[in-house]
Subunit: 251 residues, 2 copies
């Protein structure tokens, strides 16, 4: 099981990946990339971008190195990869998901602290519909930019700019405020998949019920905030149970 690589604290900006899910407008993709670079962030990942928009954004003048090196990912799990902390950027409607919700100023403080020596992802939904419930199920908590109730919804490129500004607003993260070490998204997702297999094989989940339970269980695994050795242990337990269940079935 790979552990999240730590990087030089002086280069803490490198520990943040900005993930755009289903972005539709080439100008917004370009604007997000420029805003990232304005505030020192370089790791952009686009999940299922509108193909034409992405090509158009990439070929635009001044799009710069961020866009040239942006990774295109087939799904959110792939984009999150080694990130230990996953923060969704969403409006207030995310409340119905029962996610912990933090206003940008305090969210940025928490993110900076984490970024001192570990990776995090900041996830933005499409211009049209924002983050889906499925996207949100990958998130540890939700960040909301405090906006005016008369006009709450921000332009995507501007939301990325405001978040990048706030995260890099102070000199740097304070190492004294470290939170306990967690595990990468990719590890959590692997645990989740093993767990789902176990639940199905065990009959806890009926065949076909898997999609509906996946989000709920993903949030559960996320909320556990597993330490690396706990994650290794849990995965080992689940694999063992899975093997045993399969073994019995084959008898």
């Amino acid at each position: 099981m790979p552990e999240a690589p730590t990087r030089d604290p002086a280069n803490w900006h490198q520990n943040l990946r900005v993930v755009l899910v289903g972005a539709r407008n080439s100008l917004n993709i370009g604007a997000a990339a420029r805003a990232m670079l304005n505030f020192g962030f370089t790791d952009l990942r686009c999940v299922r971008p509108y193909e034409l928009s992405f090509r158009s954004a990439r070929s635009a003048a001044g799009a710069g190195s961020v866009l040239a090196e942006a990774k295109v990912c087939a799904d959110l799990s792939e984009a999150l990869g080694e990130a230990e902390l996953v923060v969704g950027c969403s409006g207030l409607e995310a409340r119905k998901q029962r996610h912990v919700q933090r206003a940008l100023p305090s969210a940025a403080t928490a993110l900076r602290t984490h970024l001192a020596d570990r990776q995090a992802a900041l996830v933005f939904g499409s211009e049209k519909s924002g983050l889906t419930n499925d996207d949100l199920s990958h998130c540890d908590w939700v960040l909301s930019i405090p906006t005016n109730s008369d006009c709450p919804s921000m332009n995507l490129g501007q939301a990325v700019a405001v978040c990048c500004y706030e995260i890099s607003r102070r000199a740097g993260p304070s190492p004294s405020l470290k939170t306990p070490q967690g595990v990468a998204s990719v590890t959590r997702e692997r645990i989740l998949q093993t767990l789902l297999g176990v639940l199905e094989t065990s009959g806890f989940l009926q065949a076909g019920a898997r999609p509906a339970k996946t989000r709920k269980l993903r949030r559960f695994v996320g909320r556990l905030r597993l330490a690396p050795e706990e994650a290794r242990m849990l995965q080992a337990i689940l694999r063992q149970v899975e093997w045993k269940l399969g073994h019995r079935d084959r008898k």
Copy 2:
């Protein structure tokens, strides 16, 4: 001489006017208007916008009430009007102007305090060239958004978004931190024009030297931070001198 009208502190957002000088791109004008509304600001003034861009921005869907009510002004003085405090948004090259320069976080604190009961203007230059030296001569000080030296220049719409976010970031201005009452830009400009007339008529300024000295003298008048009664007195003195000078020439 009109005094700056004060407004209800609960509506302090109304005391900020955002001024775009020579904006060229309709998308940027629209993005600036939307970002203002996102953070509760409504008073937008456009100085010499590219005519076609402005019409196009205004007719765009979702441009909203801010753009519909935006004022088009022939010059910066007209746009500043009753604003007592004028803050230019500019990169580091403004240093050569010897303006006081404040990074956005502390600039926003000062602006919020002022906006509790008095008007202020936040001035942005064009996408291509930013604020000119002439524009900057109207400004009391310069606000800089701290950006990465590899990519310091922000997109106009994103710069407006980040500034509006930061200014409205805290609950509201603290009335205990009030700065002494100043005078409106329009009053300062009137004093400046009277002064220039006096300097020319007096022979201090040679014919044709006026444009070059105007900026320097405008900064000087601004730095005086005149109280209303001082402004009245100074203008009265200058008018008297002007009259006297003209009277003598005619003898």
